[in-house]
Protein backbone atom coordinates (compact mmCIF):
# COMPACT_ATOMS: atom_id res chain seq x y z
CA UNK A 1 0.00 0.00 0.00
CA UNK A 2 1.47 3.33 -0.97
CA UNK A 3 -0.89 5.69 0.72
CA UNK A 4 0.68 8.44 2.77
CA UNK A 5 -0.74 9.60 6.05
CA UNK A 6 -0.01 13.05 7.42
CA UNK A 7 2.74 11.84 9.68
CA UNK A 8 6.34 12.87 10.18
CA UNK A 9 8.75 10.52 11.86
CA UNK A 10 11.34 12.33 13.95
CA UNK A 11 14.70 10.63 14.37
CA UNK A 12 17.37 12.35 16.46
CA UNK A 13 20.90 10.96 16.12
CA UNK A 14 23.90 11.93 18.16
CA UNK A 15 26.66 9.77 16.72
CA UNK A 16 27.36 7.03 14.22
CA UNK A 17 30.12 5.70 16.42
CA UNK A 18 27.71 3.75 18.58
CA UNK A 19 28.30 0.01 18.55
CA UNK A 20 26.61 -1.66 15.54
CA UNK A 21 25.15 1.67 14.45
CA UNK A 22 24.96 0.62 10.79
CA UNK A 23 23.15 -2.61 11.57
CA UNK A 24 20.62 -0.92 13.82
CA UNK A 25 20.09 1.94 11.41
CA UNK A 26 19.50 -0.41 8.49
CA UNK A 27 16.80 -2.27 10.43
CA UNK A 28 15.20 0.94 11.61
CA UNK A 29 14.91 2.33 8.09
CA UNK A 30 13.72 -1.03 6.75
CA UNK A 31 10.90 -0.91 9.30
CA UNK A 32 9.76 2.36 7.74
CA UNK A 33 9.87 0.85 4.25
CA UNK A 34 7.86 -2.12 5.44
CA UNK A 35 4.92 -0.09 6.71
CA UNK A 36 1.53 -1.00 5.27
CA UNK A 37 0.75 2.72 5.31
CA UNK A 38 3.55 5.13 4.51
CA UNK A 39 4.40 8.29 6.43
CA UNK A 40 4.93 11.68 4.80
CA UNK A 41 8.49 12.25 5.83
CA UNK A 42 11.40 11.18 7.96
CA UNK A 43 13.02 14.11 9.73
CA UNK A 44 16.53 13.25 10.88
CA UNK A 45 18.01 15.70 13.34
CA UNK A 46 21.69 14.84 13.47
CA UNK A 47 24.78 16.35 14.96
CA UNK A 48 27.54 17.62 12.74
CA UNK A 49 29.78 14.69 13.63
CA UNK A 50 31.76 14.11 10.44
CA UNK A 51 31.34 10.37 10.25
CA UNK A 52 27.61 10.64 10.90
CA UNK A 53 27.14 13.29 8.24
CA UNK A 54 29.08 11.16 5.72
CA UNK A 55 27.07 8.08 6.64
CA UNK A 56 23.76 9.84 6.17
CA UNK A 57 24.84 11.51 2.93
CA UNK A 58 25.84 8.18 1.48
CA UNK A 59 22.83 6.25 2.73
CA UNK A 60 20.25 5.18 0.16
CA UNK A 61 16.86 5.92 1.71
CA UNK A 62 15.14 4.73 -1.46
CA UNK A 63 11.55 5.93 -1.65
CA UNK A 64 11.48 7.60 1.76
CA UNK A 65 11.05 11.35 1.84
CA UNK A 66 13.95 12.26 4.11
CA UNK A 67 14.61 15.70 5.54
CA UNK A 68 17.99 16.07 7.24
CA UNK A 69 18.46 18.82 9.76
CA UNK A 70 21.81 19.54 11.39
CA UNK A 71 21.88 20.13 15.10
CA UNK A 72 24.83 22.35 15.83
CA UNK A 73 24.37 22.74 19.54
CA UNK A 74 25.22 20.36 22.37
CA UNK A 75 23.75 16.94 21.44
CA UNK A 76 20.63 16.28 23.46
CA UNK A 77 17.84 13.84 22.69
CA UNK A 78 15.08 16.15 23.93
CA UNK A 79 16.34 19.27 22.18
CA UNK A 80 16.89 17.42 18.92
CA UNK A 81 13.43 15.87 19.13
CA UNK A 82 11.82 19.25 19.84
CA UNK A 83 13.67 20.76 16.89
CA UNK A 84 12.65 17.91 14.62
CA UNK A 85 9.00 18.38 15.51
CA UNK A 86 9.24 22.11 14.82
CA UNK A 87 10.76 21.43 11.42
CA UNK A 88 8.27 18.74 10.45
CA UNK A 89 5.44 19.50 8.03
CA UNK A 90 2.76 16.95 8.97
CA UNK A 91 -0.24 17.09 11.27
CA UNK A 92 1.06 14.17 13.32
CA UNK A 93 4.55 13.28 14.54
CA UNK A 94 6.09 10.04 15.77
CA UNK A 95 9.27 9.60 17.83
CA UNK A 96 11.83 7.18 16.51
CA UNK A 97 15.26 5.98 17.57
CA UNK A 98 17.91 4.49 15.32
CA UNK A 99 18.22 1.33 17.42
CA UNK A 100 14.48 0.62 17.36
CA UNK A 101 12.00 -0.65 14.79
CA UNK A 102 8.40 0.08 13.99
CA UNK A 103 6.22 -2.96 13.42
CA UNK A 104 4.90 -2.98 9.87
CA UNK A 105 1.30 -2.55 11.12
CA UNK A 106 1.85 0.48 13.35
CA UNK A 107 1.01 3.31 10.92
CA UNK A 108 -1.86 1.28 9.48
CA UNK A 109 -3.34 0.84 12.94
CA UNK A 110 -2.80 4.50 13.77
CA UNK A 111 -4.87 5.37 10.72
CA UNK A 112 -7.53 2.80 11.59
CA UNK A 113 -7.90 3.94 15.21
CA UNK A 114 -7.80 7.62 14.30
CA UNK A 115 -10.80 7.09 12.06
CA UNK A 116 -12.90 5.71 14.92
CA UNK A 117 -11.37 7.73 17.77
CA UNK A 118 -11.04 11.20 16.20
CA UNK A 119 -10.99 12.84 19.64
CA UNK A 120 -7.74 11.11 20.60
CA UNK A 121 -4.65 13.26 20.14
CA UNK A 122 -2.00 10.77 21.26
CA UNK A 123 -1.64 7.12 20.38
CA UNK A 124 0.81 4.86 22.16
CA UNK A 125 1.93 1.56 20.67
CA UNK A 126 2.31 -1.60 22.67
CA UNK A 127 6.10 -1.66 22.77
CA UNK A 128 8.02 -4.89 22.66
CA UNK A 129 11.14 -4.43 24.73
CA UNK A 130 14.11 -6.56 23.75
CA UNK A 131 17.67 -6.77 25.00
CA UNK A 132 20.80 -6.41 22.88
CA UNK A 133 20.39 -9.96 21.65
CA UNK A 134 16.80 -9.30 20.63
CA UNK A 135 15.47 -11.49 23.42
CA UNK A 136 11.97 -10.49 24.54
CA UNK A 137 12.07 -8.62 27.83
CA UNK A 138 8.46 -7.47 28.19
CA UNK A 139 5.81 -5.12 26.95
CA UNK A 140 5.40 -1.44 27.69
CA UNK A 141 2.31 0.80 27.45
CA UNK A 142 0.10 -2.30 27.62
CA UNK A 143 -0.94 -1.64 31.21
CA UNK A 144 -3.79 0.65 30.15
CA UNK A 145 -5.68 -2.54 29.33
CA UNK A 146 -4.98 -4.39 32.56
CA UNK A 147 -8.00 -5.13 34.72
CA UNK A 148 -8.85 -2.44 37.28
CA UNK A 149 -5.98 -0.28 36.09
CA UNK A 150 -7.31 2.57 34.02
CA UNK A 151 -10.70 4.21 34.52
CA UNK A 152 -11.46 3.59 30.88
CA UNK A 153 -9.82 0.66 29.23
CA UNK A 154 -7.02 1.67 26.87
CA UNK A 155 -6.76 5.27 28.04
CA UNK A 156 -3.79 6.65 29.92
CA UNK A 157 -4.65 9.23 32.53
CA UNK A 158 -2.61 11.49 34.76
CA UNK A 159 -4.00 9.67 37.78
CA UNK A 160 -2.66 6.34 36.53
CA UNK A 161 0.73 7.85 35.75
CA UNK A 162 1.08 9.12 39.31
CA UNK A 163 1.33 5.53 40.53
CA UNK A 164 2.76 3.73 37.54
CA UNK A 165 5.66 5.04 35.50
CA UNK A 166 6.24 2.24 33.04
CA UNK A 167 5.12 4.03 29.90
CA UNK A 168 7.35 5.27 27.15
CA UNK A 169 7.25 7.77 24.34
CA UNK A 170 9.21 5.74 21.80
CA UNK A 171 7.01 5.08 18.80
CA UNK A 172 4.31 7.43 20.10
CA UNK A 173 2.18 9.23 17.50
CA UNK A 174 0.72 12.54 18.55
CA UNK A 175 -0.52 15.74 17.05
CA UNK A 176 2.32 18.12 16.29
CA UNK A 177 0.45 21.13 17.70
CA UNK A 178 -0.40 19.23 20.89
CA UNK A 179 3.28 18.45 21.39
CA UNK A 180 4.27 22.05 20.84
CA UNK A 181 1.47 23.55 22.93
CA UNK A 182 2.28 21.16 25.75
CA UNK A 183 5.85 22.44 25.69
CA UNK A 184 7.71 19.51 24.13
CA UNK A 185 10.41 17.60 25.96
CA UNK A 186 12.34 19.37 28.70
CA UNK A 187 16.06 18.97 27.95
CA UNK A 188 17.15 19.77 31.49
CA UNK A 189 15.33 16.75 32.91
CA UNK A 190 17.43 13.62 32.99
CA UNK A 191 16.13 10.08 33.04
CA UNK A 192 12.45 10.92 33.51
CA UNK A 193 11.99 13.38 30.64
CA UNK A 194 9.58 10.98 28.88
CA UNK A 195 7.63 10.36 32.06
CA UNK A 196 7.44 14.08 32.82
CA UNK A 197 6.24 14.73 29.30
CA UNK A 198 3.48 12.09 29.60
CA UNK A 199 2.43 13.51 32.97
CA UNK A 200 2.23 16.97 31.41
CA UNK A 201 0.48 15.71 28.32
CA UNK A 202 -2.13 13.82 30.33
CA UNK A 203 -2.57 16.83 32.61
CA UNK A 204 -3.30 19.11 29.66
CA UNK A 205 -4.82 16.75 27.13
CA UNK A 206 -6.87 13.85 28.48
CA UNK A 207 -7.11 11.72 25.36
CA UNK A 208 -4.10 9.41 25.31
CA UNK A 209 -4.82 5.93 24.10
CA UNK A 210 -2.79 2.78 23.70
CA UNK A 211 -3.58 0.88 20.53
CA UNK A 212 -3.67 -2.79 21.54
CA UNK A 213 -1.36 -3.92 18.78
CA UNK A 214 2.38 -4.46 18.68
CA UNK A 215 3.62 -1.20 17.26
CA UNK A 216 7.23 -0.76 18.18
CA UNK A 217 10.31 -2.74 19.10
CA UNK A 218 12.58 -1.02 21.56
CA UNK A 219 16.08 -2.12 22.36
CA UNK A 220 16.62 -1.82 26.08
CA UNK A 221 19.91 -0.57 27.46
CA UNK A 222 21.86 -0.71 24.24
CA UNK A 223 25.49 -0.01 25.02
CA UNK A 224 26.03 3.69 24.64
CA UNK A 225 22.35 4.64 24.75
CA UNK A 226 21.09 7.40 27.04
CA UNK A 227 19.69 5.02 29.60
CA UNK A 228 22.69 2.71 29.38
CA UNK A 229 24.86 5.71 30.21
CA UNK A 230 22.65 6.56 33.17
CA UNK A 231 23.08 3.04 34.45
CA UNK A 232 26.58 2.01 33.40
CA UNK A 233 28.35 4.87 31.67
CA UNK A 234 30.37 7.87 32.68
CA UNK A 235 27.18 9.74 33.46
CA UNK A 236 25.99 6.99 35.81
CA UNK A 237 23.42 8.31 38.21
CA UNK A 238 22.89 7.35 41.81
CA UNK A 239 19.73 6.00 43.40
CA UNK A 240 19.22 9.33 45.09
CA UNK A 241 19.38 11.04 41.74
CA UNK A 242 16.89 8.57 40.28
CA UNK A 243 14.50 9.50 43.09
CA UNK A 244 15.21 13.16 42.51
CA UNK A 245 14.32 12.99 38.81
CA UNK A 246 11.21 11.00 39.57
CA UNK A 247 10.06 13.59 42.08
CA UNK A 248 11.05 16.34 39.70
CA UNK A 249 8.85 14.89 36.97
CA UNK A 250 5.90 14.92 39.35
CA UNK A 251 6.57 18.54 40.30
CA UNK A 252 7.47 19.94 36.93
CA UNK A 253 4.65 18.67 34.79
CA UNK A 254 2.48 21.60 35.82
CA UNK A 255 4.82 23.88 33.89
CA UNK A 256 4.98 23.90 30.13
CA UNK A 257 8.42 25.52 30.04
CA UNK A 258 11.70 23.90 30.96
CA UNK A 259 12.71 25.49 34.25
CA UNK A 260 16.33 24.32 33.85
CA UNK A 261 16.29 21.91 36.76
CA UNK A 262 19.65 20.76 38.05
CA UNK A 263 20.46 17.94 40.40
CA UNK A 264 22.64 19.00 43.26
CA UNK A 265 24.00 16.59 45.82
CA UNK A 266 22.54 17.48 49.16
CA UNK A 267 25.14 17.84 51.89
CA UNK A 268 24.26 18.19 55.51
Amino acid sequence: MNKNISLSVILPIKSSKAKDFGVFFEKAIASLHNQQEQCDELVIVHTNEESLVSFLDAYDFKSLNVVKKVWNEEPNYCSQMNYGVEQSTSEWVSFFEFDDEYSNIWFKNFKKYLEVYPEVSTFLPVVVDVDNKEVFAGFTNEATFAANFAQEMGYLTNEVLQDYQNFQTSGIILKKDVFILTGGFKPSIKLTFGYEFLLRLSYNSPSIMTIPKLGYKHTNLREGSIFWNYKFGDNKITEDEVKFWLQTAKKEYFFTTDRKIKYEIQTS
Binding site: K108, K112, F136, G138, F145, M153, K213
Partner: protein, 348 residues
Amino acid sequence: MNDIKTKIETSLTNLKEKKSRIYFVVQDTKGNARASVKFIYDIAMALKDDGFNSIILHEKKEYTGVESWLDESYMSKLPHQAIEGENLNISPEDFIVLPEIYGFIMEQIKDLPCGKIVLTQSYSYILDTLQPGQTWSSFGFFKCITTSEKQKEYVETFMKKISYDIITPVISAAFTKPKLPPMPIIAMHTRDQTDTINIVKQFYLKYPQFRWFTFRDMRGLSENEFANSLKNCFLSVWIDDASGFGTYPLESMSCGVPVIGKIPDLIPEWMDEKNGIWVQDKLKIVDYIAEFVQNWLEDSVKPELYDDIEVTAQKYNNFENFKTNVIEKFSGYLNNRINAFEDQLKKI
Protein backbone atom coordinates in the same frame (compact mmCIF):
# COMPACT_ATOMS: atom_id res chain seq x y z
CA MET B 1 -74.32 -36.94 19.40
CA ASN B 2 -75.26 -33.41 18.41
CA ASP B 3 -73.33 -32.12 21.38
CA ILE B 4 -70.14 -33.84 20.17
CA LYS B 5 -70.75 -32.59 16.67
CA THR B 6 -71.09 -29.04 17.93
CA LYS B 7 -67.90 -29.35 19.93
CA ILE B 8 -66.01 -30.65 16.95
CA GLU B 9 -67.37 -27.91 14.76
CA THR B 10 -66.35 -25.33 17.34
CA SER B 11 -62.88 -26.83 17.45
CA LEU B 12 -62.70 -26.77 13.68
CA THR B 13 -63.71 -23.13 13.61
CA ASN B 14 -61.10 -22.25 16.21
CA LEU B 15 -58.42 -24.10 14.29
CA LYS B 16 -59.34 -22.54 10.97
CA GLU B 17 -59.44 -19.06 12.49
CA LYS B 18 -56.16 -19.68 14.34
CA LYS B 19 -57.96 -19.18 17.64
CA SER B 20 -56.82 -22.48 19.09
CA ARG B 21 -54.40 -21.86 21.91
CA ILE B 22 -50.77 -22.80 21.54
CA TYR B 23 -49.25 -23.02 25.00
CA PHE B 24 -45.50 -22.77 25.31
CA VAL B 25 -44.19 -23.96 28.64
CA VAL B 26 -41.12 -22.04 29.81
CA GLN B 27 -38.76 -22.14 32.75
CA ASP B 28 -38.48 -19.19 35.07
CA THR B 29 -34.83 -18.20 34.64
CA LYS B 30 -35.19 -15.67 37.50
CA GLY B 31 -34.01 -12.87 35.28
CA ASN B 32 -31.01 -14.71 33.85
CA ALA B 33 -30.58 -14.78 30.10
CA ARG B 34 -31.00 -18.20 28.57
CA ALA B 35 -30.85 -18.96 24.87
CA SER B 36 -33.21 -21.91 25.21
CA VAL B 37 -35.96 -19.73 26.72
CA LYS B 38 -35.37 -16.99 24.18
CA PHE B 39 -35.84 -19.57 21.42
CA ILE B 40 -39.28 -20.47 22.80
CA TYR B 41 -40.26 -16.82 23.08
CA ASP B 42 -39.06 -16.21 19.52
CA ILE B 43 -41.29 -19.01 18.23
CA ALA B 44 -44.27 -17.78 20.24
CA MET B 45 -43.71 -14.22 19.06
CA ALA B 46 -43.36 -15.22 15.41
CA LEU B 47 -46.70 -17.00 15.66
CA LYS B 48 -48.36 -14.16 17.54
CA ASP B 49 -47.25 -11.70 14.88
CA ASP B 50 -48.93 -13.90 12.29
CA GLY B 51 -52.24 -14.06 14.13
CA PHE B 52 -51.80 -17.34 16.02
CA ASN B 53 -52.97 -17.54 19.59
CA SER B 54 -49.70 -18.31 21.35
CA ILE B 55 -49.58 -18.19 25.15
CA ILE B 56 -46.62 -18.48 27.47
CA LEU B 57 -47.17 -20.93 30.29
CA HIS B 58 -45.00 -20.81 33.41
CA GLU B 59 -45.09 -23.12 36.39
CA LYS B 60 -45.72 -20.81 39.32
CA LYS B 61 -47.76 -17.65 39.72
CA GLU B 62 -44.63 -15.76 40.67
CA TYR B 63 -42.86 -15.49 37.34
CA THR B 64 -39.87 -13.18 36.95
CA GLY B 65 -40.39 -12.66 33.26
CA VAL B 66 -37.90 -11.86 30.57
CA GLU B 67 -38.07 -8.11 30.21
CA SER B 68 -34.88 -7.62 32.23
CA TRP B 69 -32.75 -9.61 29.80
CA LEU B 70 -34.75 -9.99 26.61
CA ASP B 71 -37.23 -7.30 25.76
CA GLU B 72 -40.33 -5.78 27.27
CA SER B 73 -42.31 -6.52 24.09
CA TYR B 74 -42.02 -10.26 24.71
CA MET B 75 -43.92 -9.79 27.96
CA SER B 76 -46.48 -7.27 26.77
CA LYS B 77 -47.36 -8.83 23.43
CA LEU B 78 -47.56 -12.43 24.57
CA PRO B 79 -50.21 -13.50 27.10
CA HIS B 80 -48.73 -15.28 30.14
CA GLN B 81 -50.44 -17.81 32.33
CA ALA B 82 -49.37 -19.84 35.34
CA ILE B 83 -49.95 -23.59 35.57
CA GLU B 84 -50.14 -23.49 39.36
CA GLY B 85 -53.47 -22.41 40.84
CA GLU B 86 -55.13 -21.51 37.57
CA ASN B 87 -57.78 -23.37 35.71
CA LEU B 88 -56.27 -23.79 32.30
CA ASN B 89 -58.82 -24.07 29.57
CA ILE B 90 -57.37 -26.66 27.32
CA SER B 91 -59.55 -27.79 24.46
CA PRO B 92 -58.96 -30.54 21.94
CA GLU B 93 -57.95 -28.01 19.29
CA ASP B 94 -55.24 -26.51 21.53
CA PHE B 95 -51.57 -27.38 21.61
CA ILE B 96 -49.01 -27.67 24.35
CA VAL B 97 -45.36 -27.24 23.43
CA LEU B 98 -43.28 -28.69 26.22
CA PRO B 99 -39.47 -28.46 26.54
CA GLU B 100 -37.69 -31.78 26.93
CA ILE B 101 -36.65 -30.96 30.49
CA TYR B 102 -40.28 -31.32 31.60
CA GLY B 103 -40.47 -35.07 31.27
CA PHE B 104 -42.31 -35.24 34.61
CA ILE B 105 -45.09 -32.97 33.33
CA MET B 106 -45.65 -35.27 30.36
CA GLU B 107 -47.15 -37.87 32.63
CA GLN B 108 -49.42 -35.29 34.30
CA ILE B 109 -50.88 -34.11 31.02
CA LYS B 110 -50.94 -37.36 29.14
CA ASP B 111 -54.74 -37.54 29.20
CA LEU B 112 -55.33 -34.04 27.92
CA PRO B 113 -57.01 -34.27 24.53
CA CYS B 114 -54.94 -31.45 22.96
CA GLY B 115 -52.06 -31.65 20.53
CA LYS B 116 -48.81 -32.31 22.37
CA ILE B 117 -45.40 -31.35 21.06
CA VAL B 118 -42.06 -31.81 22.74
CA LEU B 119 -39.44 -29.18 22.05
CA THR B 120 -35.89 -30.50 22.26
CA GLN B 121 -33.04 -28.06 22.24
CA SER B 122 -30.59 -30.02 24.33
CA TYR B 123 -30.52 -33.75 23.81
CA SER B 124 -28.59 -34.20 27.04
CA TYR B 125 -31.65 -33.28 29.14
CA ILE B 126 -34.10 -35.63 27.46
CA LEU B 127 -33.73 -38.56 29.80
CA ASP B 128 -33.12 -36.57 32.98
CA THR B 129 -36.76 -36.57 34.05
CA LEU B 130 -37.95 -39.77 32.45
CA GLN B 131 -38.01 -43.11 34.21
CA PRO B 132 -36.12 -45.98 32.59
CA GLY B 133 -38.23 -47.33 29.75
CA GLN B 134 -40.45 -44.27 29.46
CA THR B 135 -40.67 -42.57 26.10
CA TRP B 136 -42.45 -39.47 24.88
CA SER B 137 -44.91 -41.51 22.88
CA SER B 138 -46.06 -43.31 26.03
CA PHE B 139 -47.40 -39.92 27.19
CA GLY B 140 -49.09 -39.05 23.92
CA PHE B 141 -46.27 -36.97 22.52
CA PHE B 142 -45.74 -38.01 18.92
CA LYS B 143 -44.35 -34.77 17.56
CA CYS B 144 -40.97 -33.28 18.34
CA ILE B 145 -39.46 -29.98 17.29
CA THR B 146 -35.70 -29.85 17.47
CA THR B 147 -33.05 -27.39 16.34
CA SER B 148 -30.86 -29.26 13.88
CA GLU B 149 -30.76 -32.23 11.58
CA LYS B 150 -27.89 -33.68 13.59
CA GLN B 151 -29.81 -33.49 16.82
CA LYS B 152 -32.83 -35.02 15.13
CA GLU B 153 -30.74 -37.89 13.78
CA TYR B 154 -29.34 -38.56 17.21
CA VAL B 155 -32.59 -38.27 19.20
CA GLU B 156 -34.61 -40.45 16.85
CA THR B 157 -32.22 -43.33 17.50
CA PHE B 158 -33.80 -43.76 20.94
CA MET B 159 -37.05 -41.74 20.86
CA LYS B 160 -38.94 -43.73 18.29
CA LYS B 161 -42.50 -43.48 16.88
CA ILE B 162 -42.09 -39.71 16.85
CA SER B 163 -42.18 -37.40 13.85
CA TYR B 164 -39.55 -34.69 13.93
CA ASP B 165 -39.49 -31.15 12.65
CA ILE B 166 -36.58 -28.77 12.66
CA ILE B 167 -36.76 -25.13 13.59
CA THR B 168 -33.33 -23.57 13.49
CA PRO B 169 -32.81 -20.82 16.08
CA VAL B 170 -32.26 -17.32 14.83
CA ILE B 171 -29.49 -15.11 16.16
CA SER B 172 -30.90 -11.89 17.55
CA ALA B 173 -30.42 -8.60 15.73
CA ALA B 174 -28.55 -7.37 18.82
CA PHE B 175 -25.54 -9.37 17.65
CA THR B 176 -23.95 -7.27 14.96
CA LYS B 177 -20.45 -6.22 14.05
CA PRO B 178 -19.24 -3.35 16.23
CA LYS B 179 -18.16 0.01 14.89
CA LEU B 180 -15.14 0.22 17.18
CA PRO B 181 -12.15 -2.12 17.06
CA PRO B 182 -12.18 -4.76 19.78
CA MET B 183 -10.34 -4.50 23.07
CA PRO B 184 -7.92 -7.13 24.40
CA ILE B 185 -10.78 -8.98 26.06
CA ILE B 186 -11.60 -12.67 25.74
CA ALA B 187 -15.23 -13.72 26.16
CA MET B 188 -15.70 -17.00 28.01
CA HIS B 189 -18.73 -19.23 27.74
CA THR B 190 -18.45 -22.64 29.32
CA ARG B 191 -21.19 -24.93 30.53
CA ASP B 192 -19.13 -25.74 33.59
CA GLN B 193 -17.85 -22.59 35.28
CA THR B 194 -14.77 -24.38 36.59
CA ASP B 195 -13.60 -24.65 32.97
CA THR B 196 -13.59 -20.86 32.75
CA ILE B 197 -11.75 -20.51 36.06
CA ASN B 198 -9.15 -23.10 35.13
CA ILE B 199 -8.46 -21.59 31.73
CA VAL B 200 -8.04 -18.08 33.11
CA LYS B 201 -5.73 -19.13 35.92
CA GLN B 202 -3.69 -21.43 33.74
CA PHE B 203 -3.37 -18.85 30.99
CA TYR B 204 -2.00 -16.21 33.33
CA LEU B 205 0.45 -18.67 34.86
CA LYS B 206 1.64 -20.04 31.56
CA TYR B 207 1.69 -16.77 29.64
CA PRO B 208 2.41 -14.03 32.20
CA GLN B 209 3.35 -11.59 29.43
CA PHE B 210 -0.33 -11.54 28.49
CA ARG B 211 -1.65 -10.77 31.95
CA TRP B 212 -3.01 -7.51 30.62
CA PHE B 213 -5.59 -9.43 28.61
CA THR B 214 -8.95 -9.63 30.33
CA PHE B 215 -11.25 -12.65 30.42
CA ARG B 216 -14.94 -11.93 30.65
CA ASP B 217 -17.34 -14.57 31.93
CA MET B 218 -20.52 -14.10 29.91
CA ARG B 219 -22.90 -15.39 32.57
CA GLY B 220 -25.74 -13.38 34.07
CA LEU B 221 -26.05 -10.74 31.38
CA SER B 222 -29.11 -9.44 29.60
CA GLU B 223 -29.23 -9.99 25.87
CA ASN B 224 -28.12 -6.43 25.14
CA GLU B 225 -25.38 -6.52 27.75
CA PHE B 226 -24.30 -9.86 26.37
CA ALA B 227 -24.18 -8.56 22.81
CA ASN B 228 -22.39 -5.36 23.80
CA SER B 229 -19.85 -7.29 25.85
CA LEU B 230 -19.16 -9.61 22.94
CA LYS B 231 -18.62 -6.65 20.64
CA ASN B 232 -15.75 -5.46 22.85
CA CYS B 233 -13.97 -8.81 22.60
CA PHE B 234 -11.45 -9.96 20.01
CA LEU B 235 -11.87 -13.66 20.84
CA SER B 236 -14.49 -16.02 22.25
CA VAL B 237 -13.88 -19.28 24.03
CA TRP B 238 -16.62 -21.89 24.10
CA ILE B 239 -16.75 -25.20 25.95
CA ASP B 240 -20.03 -27.09 26.01
CA ASP B 241 -19.74 -30.79 25.36
CA ALA B 242 -23.50 -31.29 25.56
CA SER B 243 -24.42 -28.43 23.26
CA GLY B 244 -27.40 -29.20 21.08
CA PHE B 245 -27.03 -26.39 18.58
CA GLY B 246 -24.25 -23.94 19.53
CA THR B 247 -25.96 -20.59 19.73
CA TYR B 248 -23.08 -18.88 21.54
CA PRO B 249 -20.45 -19.36 18.83
CA LEU B 250 -22.92 -18.10 16.24
CA GLU B 251 -23.63 -15.03 18.36
CA SER B 252 -19.87 -14.44 18.56
CA MET B 253 -19.48 -14.84 14.84
CA SER B 254 -22.34 -12.42 14.24
CA CYS B 255 -20.30 -9.87 16.20
CA GLY B 256 -17.24 -10.64 14.07
CA VAL B 257 -15.52 -12.39 16.97
CA PRO B 258 -13.61 -15.60 16.16
CA VAL B 259 -14.16 -18.58 18.43
CA ILE B 260 -11.85 -21.11 19.96
CA GLY B 261 -14.10 -23.96 20.94
CA LYS B 262 -14.00 -27.52 22.11
CA ILE B 263 -15.81 -29.71 19.65
CA PRO B 264 -19.03 -30.85 21.37
CA ASP B 265 -20.14 -34.46 21.47
CA LEU B 266 -22.75 -33.66 18.85
CA ILE B 267 -20.87 -31.70 16.22
CA PRO B 268 -22.97 -28.70 15.16
CA GLU B 269 -23.95 -28.74 11.52
CA TRP B 270 -22.65 -25.19 10.97
CA MET B 271 -19.18 -26.12 12.22
CA ASP B 272 -16.44 -26.63 9.66
CA GLU B 273 -12.68 -26.54 9.67
CA LYS B 274 -12.57 -22.94 8.46
CA ASN B 275 -15.07 -21.01 10.57
CA GLY B 276 -13.32 -21.28 13.93
CA ILE B 277 -10.53 -22.88 15.86
CA TRP B 278 -12.12 -26.14 16.93
CA VAL B 279 -10.15 -28.40 19.20
CA GLN B 280 -10.59 -31.89 20.63
CA ASP B 281 -8.35 -31.50 23.63
CA LYS B 282 -9.65 -29.12 26.27
CA LEU B 283 -6.26 -28.99 27.95
CA LYS B 284 -4.71 -27.34 24.92
CA ILE B 285 -7.18 -24.48 24.76
CA VAL B 286 -4.91 -22.11 26.74
CA ASP B 287 -2.14 -22.66 24.20
CA TYR B 288 -4.50 -21.95 21.32
CA ILE B 289 -5.61 -18.78 23.08
CA ALA B 290 -2.00 -17.65 23.52
CA GLU B 291 -1.22 -18.34 19.87
CA PHE B 292 -4.28 -16.42 18.78
CA VAL B 293 -3.41 -13.53 21.11
CA GLN B 294 0.06 -13.26 19.58
CA ASN B 295 -1.36 -13.33 16.05
CA TRP B 296 -4.00 -10.76 16.93
CA LEU B 297 -1.39 -8.42 18.41
CA GLU B 298 0.56 -8.69 15.16
CA ASP B 299 -2.50 -8.39 12.93
CA SER B 300 -1.63 -11.76 11.48
CA VAL B 301 -4.87 -13.64 12.06
CA LYS B 302 -5.82 -14.98 8.64
CA PRO B 303 -8.39 -12.65 7.05
CA GLU B 304 -10.16 -15.75 5.67
CA LEU B 305 -11.18 -16.65 9.21
CA TYR B 306 -13.12 -13.39 9.51
CA ASP B 307 -14.66 -13.95 6.08
CA ASP B 308 -15.74 -17.48 7.00
CA ILE B 309 -17.30 -16.54 10.32
CA GLU B 310 -19.28 -13.83 8.59
CA VAL B 311 -20.57 -16.27 5.98
CA THR B 312 -21.55 -18.76 8.70
CA ALA B 313 -23.25 -16.15 10.87
CA GLN B 314 -25.30 -14.79 7.97
CA LYS B 315 -27.04 -18.13 7.62
CA TYR B 316 -28.51 -17.81 11.10
CA ASN B 317 -29.51 -14.19 11.47
CA ASN B 318 -32.45 -13.93 9.12
CA PHE B 319 -35.52 -13.50 11.30
CA GLU B 320 -37.87 -13.59 8.32
CA ASN B 321 -36.63 -17.04 7.33
CA PHE B 322 -37.06 -18.17 10.91
CA LYS B 323 -40.56 -16.76 11.06
CA THR B 324 -41.53 -18.37 7.76
CA ASN B 325 -40.30 -21.72 9.01
CA VAL B 326 -42.14 -21.41 12.33
CA ILE B 327 -45.42 -20.42 10.64
CA GLU B 328 -45.09 -23.19 8.10
CA LYS B 329 -44.55 -25.81 10.79
CA PHE B 330 -47.40 -24.67 13.03
CA SER B 331 -49.78 -24.17 10.12
CA GLY B 332 -49.02 -27.78 9.30
CA TYR B 333 -49.88 -28.87 12.85
CA LEU B 334 -53.15 -26.96 12.71
CA ASN B 335 -54.02 -28.41 9.31
CA ASN B 336 -53.34 -31.91 10.56
CA ARG B 337 -55.74 -31.29 13.43
CA ILE B 338 -58.30 -29.85 11.05
CA ASN B 339 -58.08 -32.98 8.93
CA ALA B 340 -58.41 -35.19 12.00
CA PHE B 341 -61.49 -33.32 13.23
CA GLU B 342 -63.08 -33.37 9.79
CA ASP B 343 -62.55 -37.13 9.65
CA GLN B 344 -64.26 -37.44 13.03
CA LEU B 345 -67.10 -35.26 11.85
CA LYS B 346 -67.66 -37.45 8.83
CA LYS B 347 -67.91 -40.50 11.08
CA ILE B 348 -70.69 -38.97 13.17
